[in-house]
Protein backbone atom coordinates (compact mmCIF):
# COMPACT_ATOMS: atom_id res chain seq x y z
CA UNK A 1 0.00 0.00 0.00
CA UNK A 2 2.55 2.50 1.22
CA UNK A 3 4.98 1.30 -1.43
CA UNK A 4 2.33 1.86 -4.10
CA UNK A 5 1.79 5.38 -2.77
CA UNK A 6 5.50 6.12 -3.18
CA UNK A 7 5.47 4.73 -6.72
CA UNK A 8 2.43 6.85 -7.48
CA UNK A 9 4.20 9.94 -6.12
CA UNK A 10 7.27 9.42 -8.29
CA UNK A 11 5.18 8.64 -11.36
CA UNK A 12 3.20 11.83 -10.79
CA UNK A 13 6.34 13.90 -10.29
CA UNK A 14 7.82 12.46 -13.47
CA UNK A 15 4.61 13.11 -15.40
CA UNK A 16 4.72 16.71 -14.15
CA UNK A 17 8.37 17.08 -15.03
CA UNK A 18 8.05 15.38 -18.39
CA UNK A 19 8.56 18.50 -20.55
CA UNK A 20 11.86 19.07 -18.74
CA UNK A 21 12.86 15.58 -17.65
CA UNK A 22 11.45 13.68 -20.61
CA UNK A 23 14.23 14.29 -23.11
CA UNK A 24 17.00 14.09 -20.47
CA UNK A 25 15.92 11.29 -18.17
CA UNK A 26 13.28 9.52 -20.25
CA UNK A 27 12.35 6.14 -18.83
CA UNK A 28 14.86 6.57 -16.01
CA UNK A 29 12.91 9.38 -14.33
CA UNK A 30 10.68 7.24 -12.07
CA UNK A 31 13.75 5.27 -10.96
CA UNK A 32 15.57 8.46 -9.98
CA UNK A 33 12.59 9.74 -8.02
CA UNK A 34 11.98 6.30 -6.42
CA UNK A 35 15.57 6.40 -5.23
CA UNK A 36 15.32 10.00 -4.12
CA UNK A 37 12.29 9.15 -1.97
CA UNK A 38 14.04 6.14 -0.41
CA UNK A 39 17.09 8.25 0.46
CA UNK A 40 14.95 11.06 1.87
CA UNK A 41 12.85 8.68 3.94
CA UNK A 42 15.84 6.82 5.36
CA UNK A 43 17.62 10.06 6.21
CA UNK A 44 14.60 11.59 7.90
CA UNK A 45 14.06 8.47 10.02
CA UNK A 46 17.74 7.87 10.81
CA UNK A 47 18.38 11.49 11.75
CA UNK A 48 15.10 11.76 13.70
CA UNK A 49 15.68 8.62 15.76
CA UNK A 50 19.42 9.34 15.91
CA UNK A 51 18.76 12.78 17.41
CA UNK A 52 17.01 11.32 20.46
CA UNK A 53 19.45 8.45 20.76
CA UNK A 54 22.24 11.03 20.71
CA UNK A 55 20.62 12.93 23.58
CA UNK A 56 20.36 9.72 25.57
CA UNK A 57 24.00 8.93 24.81
CA UNK A 58 25.11 12.42 25.80
CA UNK A 59 23.24 12.19 29.09
CA UNK A 60 24.81 8.79 29.74
CA UNK A 61 28.27 10.16 29.05
CA UNK A 62 27.76 13.21 31.27
CA UNK A 63 26.01 11.30 34.07
CA UNK A 64 29.24 10.51 35.93
CA UNK A 65 28.06 6.94 36.59
CA UNK A 66 30.59 4.41 35.38
CA UNK A 67 27.96 1.86 34.29
CA UNK A 68 26.47 4.48 31.96
CA UNK A 69 29.60 6.41 30.97
CA UNK A 70 31.64 3.45 29.80
CA UNK A 71 29.20 1.75 27.44
CA UNK A 72 28.29 5.12 25.93
CA UNK A 73 31.94 6.07 25.47
CA UNK A 74 32.75 2.73 23.83
CA UNK A 75 29.72 3.01 21.55
CA UNK A 76 30.69 6.49 20.38
CA UNK A 77 34.33 5.49 19.97
CA UNK A 78 33.45 2.45 17.85
CA UNK A 79 30.90 4.14 15.60
CA UNK A 80 32.97 7.29 15.15
CA UNK A 81 36.19 5.36 14.71
CA UNK A 82 35.16 2.96 11.91
CA UNK A 83 34.06 3.71 8.36
CA UNK A 84 30.32 3.63 7.71
CA UNK A 85 30.92 1.12 4.92
CA UNK A 86 32.63 -1.28 7.33
CA UNK A 87 29.76 -0.94 9.80
CA UNK A 88 27.23 -1.66 7.04
CA UNK A 89 29.06 -4.74 5.82
CA UNK A 90 29.69 -6.16 9.30
CA UNK A 91 26.07 -5.76 10.27
CA UNK A 92 24.49 -6.70 6.92
CA UNK A 93 26.74 -9.47 5.60
CA UNK A 94 28.47 -10.42 8.87
CA UNK A 95 25.59 -10.58 11.33
CA UNK A 96 23.25 -11.56 8.48
CA UNK A 97 25.30 -14.65 7.69
CA UNK A 98 24.23 -16.15 11.04
CA UNK A 99 20.84 -16.61 9.41
CA UNK A 100 17.64 -17.59 11.12
CA UNK A 101 19.29 -20.37 13.19
CA UNK A 102 21.87 -18.01 14.65
CA UNK A 103 19.68 -14.99 15.28
CA UNK A 104 16.29 -16.49 16.09
CA UNK A 105 13.07 -15.74 14.24
CA UNK A 106 12.49 -12.33 15.82
CA UNK A 107 15.90 -10.79 15.17
CA UNK A 108 16.01 -12.45 11.77
CA UNK A 109 12.88 -10.66 10.51
CA UNK A 110 14.80 -7.49 11.27
CA UNK A 111 18.21 -8.47 9.89
CA UNK A 112 16.68 -10.11 6.85
CA UNK A 113 15.52 -6.76 5.56
CA UNK A 114 18.25 -4.64 3.94
CA UNK A 115 16.23 -1.44 4.37
CA UNK A 116 15.92 -1.97 8.13
CA UNK A 117 19.62 -2.85 8.47
CA UNK A 118 20.47 0.32 6.53
CA UNK A 119 18.25 2.36 8.80
CA UNK A 120 19.80 0.78 11.90
CA UNK A 121 23.38 1.44 10.84
CA UNK A 122 22.71 5.01 9.69
CA UNK A 123 20.89 5.72 12.97
CA UNK A 124 23.65 4.30 15.17
CA UNK A 125 26.34 6.06 13.16
CA UNK A 126 24.70 9.47 13.25
CA UNK A 127 23.82 9.18 16.94
CA UNK A 128 27.50 8.67 17.79
CA UNK A 129 28.53 11.80 15.87
CA UNK A 130 25.64 13.90 17.11
CA UNK A 131 26.30 12.92 20.71
CA UNK A 132 29.84 14.20 20.27
CA UNK A 133 28.47 17.44 18.81
CA UNK A 134 26.10 17.89 21.78
CA UNK A 135 28.89 17.14 24.22
CA UNK A 136 30.89 19.94 22.60
CA UNK A 137 27.89 22.25 23.00
CA UNK A 138 27.48 21.35 26.66
CA UNK A 139 31.17 21.97 27.33
CA UNK A 140 30.58 25.59 26.31
CA UNK A 141 27.96 26.23 28.94
CA UNK A 142 28.89 27.68 32.29
CA UNK A 143 29.03 24.85 34.84
CA UNK A 144 27.61 27.23 37.40
CA UNK A 145 24.18 26.94 35.77
CA UNK A 146 24.04 23.25 36.53
CA UNK A 147 25.27 23.83 40.07
CA UNK A 148 22.63 26.52 40.57
CA UNK A 149 19.88 24.23 39.30
CA UNK A 150 20.99 21.38 41.54
CA UNK A 151 21.29 23.69 44.56
CA UNK A 152 17.66 24.76 44.29
CA UNK A 153 16.68 21.10 44.31
CA UNK A 154 16.15 20.38 40.62
CA UNK A 155 16.94 16.76 39.74
CA UNK A 156 20.01 16.29 37.53
CA UNK A 157 18.08 14.88 34.56
CA UNK A 158 15.57 17.70 34.58
CA UNK A 159 18.29 20.31 34.87
CA UNK A 160 20.02 18.74 31.88
CA UNK A 161 16.82 18.64 29.87
CA UNK A 162 15.44 22.07 30.73
CA UNK A 163 18.52 24.18 31.26
CA UNK A 164 21.67 22.71 29.79
CA UNK A 165 20.48 20.86 26.67
CA UNK A 166 18.43 23.66 25.06
CA UNK A 167 21.43 25.97 25.25
CA UNK A 168 23.82 23.26 24.09
CA UNK A 169 21.66 22.49 21.05
CA UNK A 170 21.62 26.17 20.12
CA UNK A 171 25.40 26.31 20.28
CA UNK A 172 25.81 23.00 18.48
CA UNK A 173 23.16 23.66 15.80
CA UNK A 174 25.46 24.73 12.92
CA UNK A 175 27.67 21.69 13.54
CA UNK A 176 24.53 19.54 13.66
CA UNK A 177 23.43 20.91 10.28
CA UNK A 178 26.79 19.91 8.91
CA UNK A 179 26.36 16.39 10.25
CA UNK A 180 22.98 16.11 8.48
CA UNK A 181 24.63 16.93 5.15
CA UNK A 182 27.46 14.48 5.81
CA UNK A 183 24.89 11.83 6.67
CA UNK A 184 23.09 12.45 3.39
CA UNK A 185 26.28 11.83 1.48
CA UNK A 186 27.21 8.81 3.59
CA UNK A 187 23.80 7.29 2.95
CA UNK A 188 24.86 6.55 -0.65
CA UNK A 189 26.84 3.61 0.77
CA UNK A 190 23.67 1.68 1.58
CA UNK A 191 23.39 0.95 -2.13
CA UNK A 192 26.09 -1.70 -1.48
CA UNK A 193 23.67 -3.69 0.72
CA UNK A 194 21.04 -3.83 -2.03
CA UNK A 195 18.90 -0.92 -0.85
CA UNK A 196 17.60 0.91 -3.91
CA UNK A 197 18.35 4.41 -2.68
CA UNK A 198 19.25 7.25 -5.04
CA UNK A 199 22.77 5.87 -5.53
CA UNK A 200 21.50 2.32 -6.00
CA UNK A 201 19.06 3.44 -8.68
CA UNK A 202 21.71 5.60 -10.33
CA UNK A 203 24.17 2.71 -10.59
CA UNK A 204 21.45 0.51 -12.02
CA UNK A 205 20.49 3.10 -14.61
CA UNK A 206 24.14 3.63 -15.53
CA UNK A 207 24.57 -0.13 -15.92
CA UNK A 208 22.22 0.05 -18.89
CA UNK A 209 22.92 3.35 -20.61
CA UNK A 210 26.65 3.86 -19.84
CA UNK A 211 25.91 7.59 -19.96
CA UNK A 212 28.08 9.43 -17.44
CA UNK A 213 25.45 12.19 -17.30
CA UNK A 214 23.45 9.73 -15.17
CA UNK A 215 25.77 10.57 -12.28
CA UNK A 216 25.34 14.27 -13.01
CA UNK A 217 21.56 13.95 -12.62
CA UNK A 218 22.11 12.04 -9.37
CA UNK A 219 24.39 14.83 -8.16
CA UNK A 220 21.68 17.39 -8.93
CA UNK A 221 19.13 15.40 -6.94
CA UNK A 222 21.56 15.15 -4.00
CA UNK A 223 22.03 18.93 -4.24
CA UNK A 224 18.27 19.41 -4.08
CA UNK A 225 18.20 17.31 -0.93
CA UNK A 226 21.15 19.23 0.53
CA UNK A 227 19.27 22.46 -0.20
CA UNK A 228 16.23 21.18 1.70
CA UNK A 229 18.39 20.17 4.66
CA UNK A 230 20.13 23.56 4.70
CA UNK A 231 16.77 25.33 4.62
CA UNK A 232 15.50 23.17 7.49
CA UNK A 233 18.61 23.94 9.54
CA UNK A 234 18.36 27.67 8.75
CA UNK A 235 14.73 27.88 9.91
CA UNK A 236 15.68 26.57 13.34
CA UNK A 237 18.78 28.69 13.47
CA UNK A 238 16.66 31.81 13.01
CA UNK A 239 14.23 30.68 15.70
CA UNK A 240 17.07 30.06 18.10
CA UNK A 241 18.41 33.55 17.46
CA UNK A 242 14.99 35.05 18.24
CA UNK A 243 14.81 33.09 21.47
CA UNK A 244 18.12 34.33 22.73
CA UNK A 245 17.51 37.92 21.59
CA UNK A 246 14.34 38.16 23.61
Amino acid sequence: MYQDLKFWVSDTICAGLSPLAGPLLGKACPRFIDGFLVTTELLALACGIGFFLAIALTFARMSGRTVLVWPAQVFVYVFRGTPLLVQLWIIYFGVGSLGEQGLGPFLWTFFKNPWLVGLLVLTLNTSAYVSEIFRGGLANIERGQMEAALSIGMPWLRAMRRIMLPQAIRIAWPAYGNELILMMKGSALISTITVMDLMGQTRTIFARNFDLNTYLYAAILYLVLAGCISAFVAVFERRFRHDTAR
Binding site: D34, S97, G99, P114
Partner: protein, 245 residues
Protein backbone atom coordinates in the same frame (compact mmCIF):
# COMPACT_ATOMS: atom_id res chain seq x y z
CA UNK B 1 66.83 25.84 -16.06
CA UNK B 2 66.72 23.04 -13.60
CA UNK B 3 62.96 22.99 -13.87
CA UNK B 4 63.14 22.78 -17.63
CA UNK B 5 65.55 19.87 -17.47
CA UNK B 6 63.25 18.13 -15.07
CA UNK B 7 60.32 18.75 -17.39
CA UNK B 8 62.21 17.29 -20.34
CA UNK B 9 63.11 14.29 -18.22
CA UNK B 10 59.50 13.77 -17.21
CA UNK B 11 58.36 14.11 -20.80
CA UNK B 12 60.91 11.57 -21.99
CA UNK B 13 59.92 9.22 -19.20
CA UNK B 14 56.27 9.66 -20.12
CA UNK B 15 56.94 8.90 -23.79
CA UNK B 16 58.97 5.83 -22.89
CA UNK B 17 56.21 4.45 -20.71
CA UNK B 18 53.61 5.19 -23.39
CA UNK B 19 55.70 3.24 -25.88
CA UNK B 20 56.10 0.24 -23.60
CA UNK B 21 52.39 0.32 -22.72
CA UNK B 22 51.68 -0.28 -26.39
CA UNK B 23 53.65 -3.50 -26.35
CA UNK B 24 51.89 -4.91 -23.33
CA UNK B 25 48.25 -5.76 -23.86
CA UNK B 26 46.36 -4.76 -20.73
CA UNK B 27 43.41 -7.02 -20.00
CA UNK B 28 40.83 -6.51 -17.27
CA UNK B 29 38.81 -9.22 -15.58
CA UNK B 30 36.51 -9.01 -12.58
CA UNK B 31 38.20 -11.41 -10.18
CA UNK B 32 34.98 -12.18 -8.30
CA UNK B 33 33.24 -14.61 -10.61
CA UNK B 34 34.30 -18.17 -9.91
CA UNK B 35 34.96 -20.42 -11.76
CA UNK B 36 35.50 -17.96 -14.62
CA UNK B 37 37.71 -15.45 -12.86
CA UNK B 38 38.63 -15.26 -9.24
CA UNK B 39 41.39 -14.05 -6.96
CA UNK B 40 43.11 -16.69 -4.83
CA UNK B 41 44.12 -16.11 -1.21
CA UNK B 42 47.60 -15.19 -2.48
CA UNK B 43 46.13 -12.47 -4.71
CA UNK B 44 46.63 -14.43 -7.90
CA UNK B 45 44.02 -14.23 -10.68
CA UNK B 46 42.80 -17.64 -11.77
CA UNK B 47 39.88 -19.12 -13.70
CA UNK B 48 38.61 -19.98 -17.15
CA UNK B 49 38.65 -16.37 -18.40
CA UNK B 50 42.18 -15.86 -17.11
CA UNK B 51 43.49 -19.01 -18.79
CA UNK B 52 41.70 -18.15 -22.03
CA UNK B 53 43.25 -14.68 -21.88
CA UNK B 54 46.70 -16.21 -21.40
CA UNK B 55 46.14 -18.64 -24.27
CA UNK B 56 44.99 -15.80 -26.53
CA UNK B 57 48.06 -13.75 -25.63
CA UNK B 58 50.28 -16.70 -26.43
CA UNK B 59 48.50 -17.15 -29.77
CA UNK B 60 48.91 -13.44 -30.58
CA UNK B 61 52.53 -13.55 -29.34
CA UNK B 62 51.95 -10.56 -27.12
CA UNK B 63 52.88 -9.79 -23.56
CA UNK B 64 49.79 -9.39 -21.44
CA UNK B 65 49.05 -7.90 -18.09
CA UNK B 66 45.82 -9.06 -16.48
CA UNK B 67 44.28 -6.81 -13.84
CA UNK B 68 41.20 -7.12 -11.63
CA UNK B 69 38.52 -4.45 -11.90
CA UNK B 70 35.16 -4.12 -10.12
CA UNK B 71 32.33 -5.18 -12.37
CA UNK B 72 30.22 -2.03 -12.54
CA UNK B 73 33.25 0.10 -13.44
CA UNK B 74 34.69 -2.33 -15.96
CA UNK B 75 33.23 -0.70 -19.10
CA UNK B 76 34.01 2.92 -18.06
CA UNK B 77 37.57 1.76 -17.28
CA UNK B 78 37.96 0.35 -20.79
CA UNK B 79 36.51 3.47 -22.39
CA UNK B 80 38.91 5.62 -20.37
CA UNK B 81 41.93 3.60 -21.53
CA UNK B 82 42.81 2.02 -18.20
CA UNK B 83 43.20 -1.26 -20.12
CA UNK B 84 42.70 -2.48 -23.68
CA UNK B 85 40.37 -5.48 -23.43
CA UNK B 86 37.82 -7.04 -21.09
CA UNK B 87 37.94 -10.82 -20.75
CA UNK B 88 35.48 -11.28 -17.93
CA UNK B 89 32.60 -13.44 -19.18
CA UNK B 90 30.87 -10.38 -20.54
CA UNK B 91 27.70 -10.97 -22.55
CA UNK B 92 27.43 -9.22 -25.86
CA UNK B 93 24.36 -6.97 -25.53
CA UNK B 94 22.93 -4.18 -27.65
CA UNK B 95 23.21 -1.76 -24.71
CA UNK B 96 26.89 -2.52 -24.19
CA UNK B 97 27.53 -2.28 -27.92
CA UNK B 98 26.56 1.40 -27.68
CA UNK B 99 29.60 1.92 -25.49
CA UNK B 100 32.19 -0.65 -26.64
CA UNK B 101 32.90 -3.19 -29.38
CA UNK B 102 33.05 -6.95 -28.95
CA UNK B 103 35.14 -9.73 -30.42
CA UNK B 104 33.54 -12.86 -31.78
CA UNK B 105 31.94 -14.91 -28.97
CA UNK B 106 34.19 -17.27 -27.01
CA UNK B 107 31.42 -19.16 -25.21
CA UNK B 108 27.64 -19.35 -24.89
CA UNK B 109 25.73 -18.60 -21.75
CA UNK B 110 22.35 -19.46 -20.28
CA UNK B 111 20.62 -17.93 -17.29
CA UNK B 112 19.54 -19.95 -14.27
CA UNK B 113 17.25 -19.26 -11.36
CA UNK B 114 18.34 -20.85 -8.10
CA UNK B 115 16.28 -21.24 -4.91
CA UNK B 116 16.19 -23.33 -1.75
CA UNK B 117 14.75 -26.82 -2.13
CA UNK B 118 11.02 -26.78 -1.47
CA UNK B 119 10.49 -23.38 -3.06
CA UNK B 120 7.25 -23.72 -4.95
CA UNK B 121 7.45 -20.51 -6.98
CA UNK B 122 7.62 -21.14 -10.70
CA UNK B 123 9.33 -18.90 -13.21
CA UNK B 124 6.03 -17.11 -13.83
CA UNK B 125 5.57 -16.36 -10.13
CA UNK B 126 9.00 -14.87 -9.55
CA UNK B 127 7.53 -11.36 -9.49
CA UNK B 128 5.97 -12.29 -6.13
CA UNK B 129 9.27 -13.15 -4.41
CA UNK B 130 12.60 -11.44 -3.92
CA UNK B 131 15.11 -11.94 -6.71
CA UNK B 132 18.83 -11.51 -6.14
CA UNK B 133 21.29 -10.78 -8.94
CA UNK B 134 24.58 -9.10 -9.58
CA UNK B 135 24.13 -5.47 -10.61
CA UNK B 136 24.85 -4.66 -14.22
CA UNK B 137 24.61 -8.22 -15.56
CA UNK B 138 22.41 -9.90 -18.17
CA UNK B 139 20.79 -11.75 -15.24
CA UNK B 140 19.72 -8.61 -13.40
CA UNK B 141 18.59 -6.97 -16.62
CA UNK B 142 16.62 -10.03 -17.66
CA UNK B 143 14.88 -9.90 -14.27
CA UNK B 144 14.10 -6.20 -14.67
CA UNK B 145 12.78 -6.71 -18.18
CA UNK B 146 10.75 -9.78 -17.29
CA UNK B 147 9.34 -8.83 -13.89
CA UNK B 148 9.48 -5.02 -14.04
CA UNK B 149 12.00 -2.61 -12.55
CA UNK B 150 9.86 -2.26 -9.42
CA UNK B 151 9.81 -5.97 -8.59
CA UNK B 152 11.75 -6.90 -5.44
CA UNK B 153 15.08 -7.22 -7.26
CA UNK B 154 18.11 -7.03 -4.95
CA UNK B 155 21.27 -6.01 -6.74
CA UNK B 156 24.65 -7.06 -5.37
CA UNK B 157 28.12 -5.86 -6.26
CA UNK B 158 29.34 -9.40 -6.87
CA UNK B 159 27.78 -12.74 -7.76
CA UNK B 160 29.06 -14.56 -4.60
CA UNK B 161 27.43 -11.86 -2.42
CA UNK B 162 24.07 -12.65 -4.01
CA UNK B 163 24.56 -16.38 -3.39
CA UNK B 164 25.64 -15.80 0.19
CA UNK B 165 22.37 -13.95 0.87
CA UNK B 166 20.50 -16.81 -0.79
CA UNK B 167 22.14 -19.32 1.53
CA UNK B 168 21.40 -17.08 4.53
CA UNK B 169 17.76 -17.07 3.43
CA UNK B 170 17.61 -13.33 2.97
CA UNK B 171 16.70 -13.44 -0.66
CA UNK B 172 14.39 -16.13 -2.03
CA UNK B 173 15.83 -16.64 -5.51
CA UNK B 174 18.99 -15.71 -7.39
CA UNK B 175 19.31 -15.19 -11.13
CA UNK B 176 22.80 -15.97 -12.38
CA UNK B 177 24.65 -17.40 -15.34
CA UNK B 178 24.24 -21.15 -15.68
CA UNK B 179 27.81 -22.39 -15.12
CA UNK B 180 28.61 -20.43 -11.91
CA UNK B 181 25.10 -21.26 -10.67
CA UNK B 182 25.62 -24.97 -11.38
CA UNK B 183 28.92 -24.90 -9.51
CA UNK B 184 27.33 -23.16 -6.54
CA UNK B 185 24.33 -25.53 -6.44
CA UNK B 186 26.60 -28.59 -6.49
CA UNK B 187 28.64 -27.15 -3.60
CA UNK B 188 25.64 -26.11 -1.48
CA UNK B 189 23.20 -28.71 -0.20
CA UNK B 190 19.55 -27.81 -0.02
CA UNK B 191 19.45 -25.61 -3.09
CA UNK B 192 18.32 -26.34 -6.61
CA UNK B 193 17.19 -24.81 -9.86
CA UNK B 194 13.81 -23.16 -10.38
CA UNK B 195 14.90 -22.87 -14.00
CA UNK B 196 18.12 -24.50 -15.11
CA UNK B 197 18.81 -23.10 -18.55
CA UNK B 198 16.97 -20.03 -19.75
CA UNK B 199 18.11 -19.40 -23.30
CA UNK B 200 18.37 -15.69 -23.96
CA UNK B 201 20.68 -16.22 -26.97
CA UNK B 202 23.52 -15.02 -24.81
CA UNK B 203 27.02 -14.99 -26.26
CA UNK B 204 30.12 -14.05 -24.32
CA UNK B 205 32.72 -11.88 -26.04
CA UNK B 206 35.82 -9.84 -25.39
CA UNK B 207 35.20 -6.13 -24.94
CA UNK B 208 37.47 -3.64 -26.74
CA UNK B 209 37.27 0.12 -27.20
CA UNK B 210 35.24 1.34 -30.15
CA UNK B 211 37.36 1.71 -33.25
CA UNK B 212 40.13 -0.66 -32.10
CA UNK B 213 39.47 -2.88 -35.10
CA UNK B 214 43.03 -4.19 -35.43
CA UNK B 215 42.99 -5.53 -31.87
CA UNK B 216 39.50 -6.97 -32.37
CA UNK B 217 40.62 -8.79 -35.54
CA UNK B 218 43.73 -10.10 -33.74
CA UNK B 219 41.59 -11.42 -30.91
CA UNK B 220 39.16 -13.06 -33.35
CA UNK B 221 42.01 -14.86 -35.14
CA UNK B 222 43.49 -15.86 -31.80
CA UNK B 223 40.15 -17.36 -30.70
CA UNK B 224 40.06 -19.36 -33.95
CA UNK B 225 43.67 -20.41 -33.41
CA UNK B 226 43.14 -21.76 -29.87
CA UNK B 227 39.97 -23.51 -31.05
CA UNK B 228 41.88 -25.09 -33.93
CA UNK B 229 44.86 -26.32 -31.90
CA UNK B 230 42.73 -27.64 -29.02
CA UNK B 231 44.04 -25.30 -26.32
CA UNK B 232 40.53 -23.95 -25.79
CA UNK B 233 38.98 -27.41 -25.45
CA UNK B 234 41.64 -28.45 -22.92
CA UNK B 235 40.94 -25.43 -20.72
CA UNK B 236 37.17 -25.83 -21.03
CA UNK B 237 37.25 -29.52 -20.11
CA UNK B 238 39.54 -28.77 -17.18
CA UNK B 239 36.97 -26.39 -15.69
CA UNK B 240 33.61 -27.76 -16.81
CA UNK B 241 34.17 -31.26 -18.12
CA UNK B 242 32.67 -30.18 -21.47
CA UNK B 243 33.44 -27.82 -24.33
CA UNK B 244 31.33 -24.72 -23.57
CA UNK B 245 32.06 -22.89 -26.84
Amino acid sequence: MKIRLLAVGLLAGGLASAASAQDVLRIATEGAYPPFNNVTADGELVGFDVEIAEALCAAMERNCEIVAQDWDGIIPGLVNDKYDAIIASMSITEERKQAIDFSAPYYSNYLSVVAADGTTATLEELAEVSIGAQRSTTGSQWAEDTYGSRADIRLYDTNPAAFSDLSAGRVETVVADFLPAAEWVSANQGFGFVAEKIDIADQIGIGVRKGEDALREDLNSAIEAIRADGTYQTISVKYFGIDIF
